[in-house]
Amino acid sequence: MSHESHETHHVNYLGVFFVLCICTALSVAFDLLHFPAPVTIVLVLAVACAKAMCVMMFFMHLKFEGNWKFVLLAPTTILAIGLPLALFPDIGRSYYTNVAPQVTTWKDEVEAYNKSHHGEEHPEPTETPAGEKQGG
């Protein structure tokens, strides 16, 4: 049994390692290139998936394992995906956005802060925007 599990598969581990390094460099490059956000997200997650596939297929030897890998990992994967899918309609789509205090009560405060922080000078105390409410 032990012998079967230690069969040599002649994988070019160094080659896989270099592919992973290149992929990591690509991820950092995508961050530095300042593409539109959706493009960057798609690119870096695609690179992450490619890296994950390399690690699983070659370093974890799943490419050379029998069909048991599907039996073992398919239910896990389905259950793992289930949680985000279950949360998404309630949290990801609406997350009480319309009534969140950050959006309603404190919106003016945050805008006033951003305005004073990114403006030329801090506003004089007497010129504090009326939106700066207490009570948060």
């Binding site: 997200i41 992450a48 048991w68 990992l73 896990t76 949290i91 948060g136």
Partner: protein, 350 residues
């Protein structure tokens, strides 16, 4: 009853060692464990418009994350080479590569510690981040009060004042009168003189904090006097419908900055009061960041223990091959998790 010598042995189950099957089953649970965190993070982030992504807010350093990704990839490579060496009975080589893997795990944790320190230094911690201007002002007020209480506690510790250590008003009255007070019998003259000399400084700091605190409670601009009697006088002059200007974050920041320049207590204020910097959704960002990277770091430590167990064996032989393979599978999984954490935490901005 004799079996044919060429008949294949009947075997049931999956053709892998039980330990490896156990490791894969464990990794199956680990996939669900981390997917719950990562999935929740994605979902929460999608539902939070204005999630902090600016490195000035989050103190996320892409370079640190990138280097750590590289470190884990190199360590993954070393582990797989170590396992290959074990299979080829080159145990010394396997030991060397496992040693290098352990070293890289230390490097990973060292960089992670630097990242954590950057966040702790700026108070980017769950539950401690002001999300609005009001919360930032209130936090500055609390932090200044903590400095006053800390400095007052030194008087209580040596016994030059009698008020209850928690009674900040009583302490402030006693400290303000300390320069003219008589020395208690059980305090030596040098110590008493020392506290008499610094009493006016601490009384001044207290009055500065009290001034701010009264404005914070009343939500009135610092341009309006805070003494209650003056409020009444000032209020009497207001026309109908008029009200005092409200307290603004910029003027509080200026007020704190001025205190920081004070020669006597400025250093304490600089150390103890952070810049007033509201970060919308900062707390949930910090919670998810520390949850995911924290649990990942714990997994790194567990992996280090596994490698250390192998490295501690005086005679590494073939009986450890399965152990090294399973430890390697675990380590690759740790790498796999980081492969997704790196883009999601360090790069993706939306």
């Amino acid at each position: 009853m004799s079996h044919s010598p060429k008949a294949p042995a009947l075997r049931m189950g999956i053709p892998i060692p039980n330990s490896k099957l156990g490791m894969w089953l464990f990794l199956g649970t680990e996939i669900m464990f981390f997917t719950a965190f990562i999935g929740s993070y994605i979902v929460l982030r999608l539902g939070s418009p204005g999630w902090p992504t600016d490195s000035k807010d989050t103190h996320i350093n892409v370079l640190f994350g990138g280097v750590n990704t590289f470190v884990l990839i190199v360590s993954s490579y070393f582990v797989v080479v170590a396992h290959e060496a074990m299979a080829q009975k080159k145990y010394a080589k396997a030991r060397s590569y496992l040693g290098l893997t352990l070293l890289l795990a230390f490097v990973f944790l060292g960089i992670k510690a630097l990242e954590y320190k950057g966040k702790i230094d700026h108070d980017i911690l769950p539950g401690r981040i002001p999300e609005t201007a009001t919360q930032a002002i209130a936090k500055a007020d609390r932090q200044l009060e903590a400095i006053v209480r800390s400095r007052f506690s030194e008087y209580s510790a040596v016994g030059v004042v009698n008020a209850n250590p928690g009674d900040i008003l009583g302490l402030s009255t006693e400290i303000a009168g300390l320069p003219k007070a008589n020395k208690p019998k059980d305090i030596d003259a040098g110590t008493f003189k020392l506290f008499q000399d610094r009493a006016p400084v601490d009384a001044k700091l207290y009055s500065e904090w009290l001034n701010l605190h009264q404005h914070v409670v009343a939500n009135v601009s610092l341009s309006v006097p805070a003494v209650p009697a003056d409020y009444l006088t000032a209020r009497a002059s207001l026309k109908e419908g008029e009200k005092f200007p409200e307290l603004g974050i910029a003027e509080v920041q200026d007020y704190i900055n001025k205190l920081k320049t004070n020669e006597q207590f400025g250093a304490d204020v600089s150390k103890g009061v952070f810049e007033l910097h509201p970060i919308v959704y900062g707390n949930i960002f910090a919670s998810t960041y520390f949850l995911m990277t924290g649990f990942h770091a714990i997994h790194v430590i567990v992996g280090m223990i596994l490698f250390a167990v192998v490295l501690m064996q005086k005679n590494l032989d073939g009986t450890w091959t399965d152990f090294v393979e399973n430890s390697g599978l675990y380590w690759h999984f740790v790498d796999l998790v980081w492969i997704f954490l790196f883009p999601l935490l360090y790069i993706v901005k939306w």
